[in-house]
Symmetry: C2
Subunit: 185 residues, 2 copies
DNA sequence: TCAGAACGGAACCGATCAGTACCGTTTGGA
DNA sequence: TCCAAACGGTACTGATCGGTTCCGTTCTGA
C-alpha cells in the first residue's frame, strides 16, 4: 500500500515550510512535490492554514521525542539538551526552530499556528524543568526558564552564524548556572 | 516643504515590515499608506528588495544609537543593555528584532537583507565587547558572545511571552557571568 | 518667468496566490 | 463481482503579487 495522500502532504509541507517559510511556499508547490491532486488536498484539509497547524502539531510531538532520546544518549542530565542542540545545528538542513520561525512569520498572536508554537515551548520548558528537578535543583522552575532562554538564544545564534558553536556557548553558561544553583537535601 | 517621497516610503515600509513581516506586506500597501505614487516608488528604488535593504540599513544605525543612549541612561555598565531591552519589550508595538525576523523570513543566507542583518548583529556584539572591556573584563570577546546570545534569547522569549520579564531573566544570568568573570589588573 | 525635475494617479502586464468544481481512474472491502 | 471511497489531473475563479508605462500636475531653482 502506498503512503496515503494525507501523510505525503504533511511530510512535503513540513520540509518546504521549514526550509523556506510558510508564506514562501504556495499550495501549488506542495501539490507538485508531493504528487497529490489539488482536490485531494482540500478533501483532507479545509485550507492551507489547517495544514500548517497539522504540520506543527506533528513536529511538536516528534521533536520532543527526539530531544528526550538524544538527552538520554548524552547522559540524561540537564546539560544534555545543549549537546542535543549541537547535533541539530550541525545538520545541513538546519533552519532554526520551526516554532520560533512560525511566531516570527505569523504576526497575529491569536492565530492557531501561534498557539501551537506557544504550546510547544511550554512543553519543552516543562521537560527541562523535569530534568532539573531530577538533578536535585532546588528551584527547577526558575532555572528551567533560564535554560529555555539559553536554548532559544542558541538556536537563533546558530541560525545566524551557521555553526553549532552557539550550542556550546549556551552550554557553558548553563553549566555555570547549574553549578551555582542550590540543591535540595 | 513636505517630507519627500523617499523618506515617507522608508518610514511606512519600516513600520509595516516590522509589524507584519516583509513578505506579508505588498508594495501596494506601502504605496497606499504612504501616499506615494507607484512610479515614484520605482524611481527611488529598483525594486522591493532594495527598499527592504534600505529600511534595514536605516534601522541598524538608529537602533544602535538608541541602544547606546539608553545604556548611558541606565548607568553605562554592560548590564544596562538588558535594561534597555526591557524598555523595548514593554513597547506596545514590540515585535521582536527586525534583523532576526529578516533572517528567519529570508531563507537565503546570501541575500542582501541577510547580510545587513548579520552585519547588525556583529556591530551590536562589538558594542557590547566595548562595554565589557571598559568594565575591566579580562576576556571581553568571549563574554560579549555570551551576552549577545542572552540578548537574542531574551528577544525571542519576550516575543513569545509578550512580557518584558525575559529581559530581567537574561540580566540575572548576565550578572552572574559578570560577577564570575576574571578582571584585568 | 520658465524649464525641468519630482511627483501622484491610473491603466496595464504576466505570474502567482488560495480555493472550487468536475473529470475519469484506481483501489479496497463486502 | 460490484460499489463507493479515495485518488490524480485539469480547468477555472477572483484577488493579489511585483513591476512597467504613460499622463497630467505640482513644485523648485535658475
Amino acid at each position: 500500500m502506498p503512503v496515503q495522500a494525507r501523510e505525503r502532504l504533511l511530510r512535503t509541507a513540513e520540509d518546504l515550510f521549514y526550509a523556506e517559510g510558510v508564506r514562501a511556499v504556495g499550495v501549488e508547490r506542495i501539490l507538485s512535490e508531493s504528487g497529490v491532486g489539488r482536490a485531494s488536498f482540500y478533501r483532507h484539509f479545509p485550507g492551507k492554514e489547517d495544514l500548517v497547524v497539522a504540520v506543527l502539531e506533528g513536529r511538536d510531538v516528534r521533536w520532543r521525542a527526539w530531544l528526550a532520546q538524544r538527552v538520554a544518549a548524552h547522559g540524561g542530565g540537564p546539560l544534555a539538551v545543549f549537546d542535543a542542540l549541537a547535533e541539530r545545528f550541525s545538520a545541513a538542513d538546519f533552519r532554526g526552530c520551526a516554532f520560533i520561525n512560525t511566531i516570527v512569520e505569523t504576526a497575529d498572536p491569536d492565530s492557531a499556528a501561534h498557539q501551537v508554537a506557544a504550546g510547544h515551548k511550554a512543553a519543552v520548558c516543562e521537560y527541562v524543568r523535569g530534568l532539573l528537578a531530577a538533578d536535585g535543583v532546588a528551584e527547577p522552575d526558575v532555572l528551567a526558564g533560564r535554560f529555555v532562554l539559553l536554548m532559544d538564544g542558541a538556536i537563533v545564534t546558530a541560525l545566524r552564524e551557521r555553526t553549532p558553536d552557539a550550542a556550546y556557548r549556551a552550554r557553558d553558561v548553563a553549566e555555570a548556572l547549574l553549578a551555582a544553583a542550590e540543591r535540595v537535601g
